[in-house]
Symmetry: C2
Subunit: 154 residues, 2 copies
DNA sequence: CGAATTTATTTCAAGCTTAAAACTTCATGC
DNA sequence: GCATGAAGTTTTAAGCTTGAAATAAATTCG
């Protein structure tokens, strides 16, 4: 309320960029969701969870999962419960802390994820195919410098 | 399906960019959702619907709304129903076609949206504040050239 | 030790989201 | 007229998502 942060022109340019960013992201997500559904009979949130677990072979606690994925705790509970039912993931008791459990991919889960991850990379590459490696890298750098954008904090 | 579209290096760069894009978008959305909730007691989907209606003073049919917002028909039905209950929006019968209705902002809805839109632009400007107008414009151009990124079909 | 607080997770209610099925109305062709 | 199909919308079932409340276990500290 007190002060505008930038000129009005810059502000409009920021808004335009945000709407473009949002639109692009939604379109890509829609394609990925559709393909995950038709080709692997699964969903994007499930894929995201599997991807996070895949990056951590030792497993992750529920709160680690939800902070990595930037979603709420309760949300992850439901997704994990369904993945456990499907046998793609397992909850492993932690001896030193009976409140928490460690979530790990099962062998089935690993195999499924590997198949999906290969296809996923291929789809993304196709969707961004008319962006050169340099342009992609450049855009990545710009986004990385937004204070809120970096993936690193945690 | 037959061939990789790019080199493996470019493919990795595309994937990196996509993950960055997704992360940035989610962070911005999280901030906007939180602020809409605490300061205006509403949600992002509702705001999106109001914004679309605001751009079309003559009103929009349900299928126009859902195609503009890139969400399913059934989805819009629910959001509109709740907005109608709140008196922010009204369904107006179309004489020539009894299947469809025209959705319009009420005066209350317009007033509410105007307050929110001003704050929204301010928040976005703040979130992107360390991006110059030129950089924002440049990134916008790059995104606009993705075949899937513009407002066009596929 | 025992009370108070913090940490890890689940449950809950409400709303969002999708795809598919159902329903109603309109348009077309016979 | 009337069947047939298309168009516009709503309903449904299942899953995703959130914030808040509830539960339970660990930690802190008087």
């Amino acid at each position: 309320m007190s002060t505008a942060r930038t000129t009005d022109l810059t502000s409009k340019e920021h808004l335009r960029l945000w709407l473009r960013l949002l639109g692009t992201t939604r379109r890509v997500e829609a394609v990925l969701r559709e393909r995950l559904r038709t080709e692997f009979d699964t969903t994007l949130p499930r894929f995201d969870v599997l991807a996070a677990l895949s990056r951590h072979p030792g497993g992750l606690k529920m709160n680690e999962l939800s902070s990595q994925l930037k979603v709420s705790n309760g949300n992850v509970t439901g997704i994990i419960s369904r993945l456990v039912e499907d046998g793609w993931v397992e909850r492993i008791a932690i001896a030193e802390d009976r409140r928490a459990t460690r979530i790990k991919l099962t062998e089935t889960g690993k195999a499924q994820f590997n198949r999906m991850a290969a296809a996923h990379e291929c789809w993304v590459d196709e969707l961004f195919s008319n962006l050169s490696a340099d342009a992609a890298h450049h855009m990545n750098e710009l986004l990385a410098h937004l204070p809120l954008a970096s993936g690193e904090p945690q």
